[in-house]
């Protein structure tokens, strides 16, 4: 049986070589299907990794505390984040103090995103945000300044640090130190301009290029003296202590919230879960659409295999007369269709990555290379090859040898 298998493979190779154009075109169907699946999976994987890779770049010792319980699955695509932004936060100012006092926590900074107009010479675009936070954010989020300094408790309360794009939009210049920015009708002096970060998607859900960062206390006063904390960024003193930190924060905040589990401490991939799950859902749908093209490719295989079987009915007759059993014949043709689909799989996988890399030049993320994608491509194409090769193979096996022998005489 082992020798037979090797022989079938040799035979398939040879017969595919004999009708090269036909095999290549059939393979192309599978190639396109596998390529689209590979592209979608690698890009969606890349998209969901954007945030966690940022955290890794920051040292991997970041935890994020968010109000409410993070659901592990997205039930409703339309409801992933928007509701949480407008609901009253369960996190309080006291929690920040508790967290800062937790052992092994290096620093913690609350994030409070406010809405409102920002203007100076001209009004900033609607995509710009007002972020109220403490000076510690600079260290945690690794914000680098182009000019001036970050927020400081020693300074006047009404100071602001602006993102580079915001500075250009409102003042028309990159160097806006000392100029006056009006936020919600209140005047702020620009003390610093951030370097361009170019990470519109990140774990803070804030595009710092377009942000006006103000003092937490001032932010509170703009918000009727209520601290609406969207999230608290926590930095542990080392990566190895992160899990310990998460556990103790969980404990302390739970105590201060009277035992209610109305918050979540997230690390690693979990931070980006709402975003990445949205990506995953989109990816699932698009993969399903890509699978249709694979089915079309499969039908192509079946079609060509049926033609091959008809063409070779004499060969089938000869082989049977020379001692081939029905199983031998069906294996021969099944392996041939598997060879087509495997060829399509390999070329599709390569083509898929070429397309993904080309597309990622226009996106903020790069495609991921994981063994899961390779295995998916392999399994999917093997299933296609088997499924659509089975009927022609069985048909070949059940041909009457005498009829087959006399077919073309």
């Amino acid at each position: 049986m082992r020798f037979l298998l090797i022989n079938h493979v040799q035979n398939a190779k040879q017969s595919l070589k004999c009708s090269r154009v036909r095999s290549t075109l059939t393979m192309l169907g599978i190639t396109i299907g596998v390529a689209s699946i590979t592209t979608i999976l690698s890009l969606s994987g890349g998209a969901s990794r954007v945030i966690s890779s940022q955290i890794d770049a920051l040292g991997g010792n970041i935890a994020v505390i968010k109000p409410g319980v993070a659901s592990s699955t997205v039930n409703n695509v339309a409801q992933t984040q928007s509701t949480r932004d407008y609901a009253t936060s369960t996190l309080t100012e006291k929690d920040i103090t508790y967290i800062e006092n937790t052992p092994q926590v290096q620093s913690a900074a609350p994030l409070m995103v406010l809405s409102g107009t920002i203007k100076a010479d001209s009004v900033a675009s609607s995509s710009s945000v007002i972020v109220a936070t403490t000076p510690k954010l600079q260290n945690i989020a690794n914000l680098k300044l182009r000019d001036g300094q970050f927020l400081d408790n020693q300074l006047d309360k009404n100071t602001v640090v602006v993102g580079l794009q915001l500075s250009i939009d409102t003042f028309g210049t990159e160097s806006s130190i000392g100029k006056i920015l009006t936020i919600r009708g209140q005047n702020f002096t620009v003390v610093g301009v951030l370097k361009r970060i170019n990470e519109p998607v990140n774990y803070n859900s804030v595009d710092f290029d377009n942000a006006a960062i103000i003092n937490f206390e001032v932010g509170k006063s703009l918000n009727q003296n209520v601290a609406q904390i969207q999230q608290i960024d926590v930095k542990a003193d080392s990566v190895s202590n992160l899990n310990k930190v998460v556990a103790s924060i969980n404990k302390t905040i739970k105590n201060s919230h009277k035992g209610e589990n109305d918050f979540s401490v997230l690390i690693g991939d979990k931070i980006s879960q709402p975003t990445s799950q949205l990506f995953f859902m989109i990816a699932k749908v698009t993969t399903a659409i890509a699978a249709i093209s694979l089915i079309v490719g499969g039908i192509g295989i079946m079609n060509i295999m049926l033609v091959t079987v008809a063409e070779r009915s004499r060969e089938i007759g000869i082989r049977k007369a020379l001692g081939a059993s029905n199983a031998d014949i069906s294996w021969q043709f099944l392996i041939e269709s598997l060879a087509i689909s495997l060829g399509g799989c390999v070329s599709g996988y390569i083509l898929g990555y070429i397309i993904a890399i080309a597309i990622s030049k226009f996106l903020i993320f790069t495609p991921v290379f994981t063994w899961q994608i390779a295995i998916t491509a392999l399994i999917v194409s093997l299933i296609t090859g088997t499924l659509f090769g089975l009927y022609p193979a069985l048909r070949a096996a059940h041909k009457d040898p005498i009829e087959s022998l006399h077919r073309y005489e």
Partner: protein, 265 residues
Amino acid sequence: MADTTSTPVIKLHGLQKRFGIGDAETFALNGVNLTINKGEFVAIMGPSGCGKTTLLNILGLLDRTYDGEYELNGTSVATISKRKRAKIRSQQIGFVFQSFNLINRLSVIENVALPLIYKGATRTKRLIIASDILRNFHLNEREYYMPYQLSGGQTQRVAIARALVNDPSIILADEPTGNLDSRSSHIIMEELSDLHKRGNTIIMVTHNPRLTTYASRVITMLDGQINTDTKEDASSIANRYEIHKPLRPVKQKNRFLNRIKRRKK
């Protein structure tokens, strides 16, 4: 070669083969009773359409739709499973077809090695055996030619080489020399009779009465039935003919054989 052992390899009883149904029903074989012993060289003759090829297909286990009894080596063929039948074809039966029936996209040597695949031989072993047998047929220089690059005679020799490669105990040949010149015919017939001497059973359909001289037994068929059979004396009679002499027509020969038979009785 009358020293044939008396074990019957093939035993047919009331064998019938029908084509068509109802009014269109015709019998290709209509009650064939035949026993072929181990080591016999049987030549089957008869006009076109008398059922020779059909008989050969049934004997070769290719055709299963017949009525009557067929015992191969003592077992009724009707009880043998499909898979087992393929195995018997692979190990015991060698086919030489009326048309050459080589696979066109395979080279000569690969065509010859084909039956060995289903016997489970490795590729190297297959090629060695195939090469050996091709040398016997003076085709060793054509090993890597494609079938369409050969002359008709060479093609048939390849086909015969293929039938012999498995060293089958029964060889079924449908006009093996039909497309060959006399020199090639001679080589092939010598090869067949050599196999016969080694104890193989050979059943050959032929139109050429000259070839019956190699046979130990000549059967003529007519309208799906066995017309004449030279069971006992075929070989001894045949030996009286000199091969190089022009032979008498078949009918004449059969008449002659029958006369002898009758006299014996």
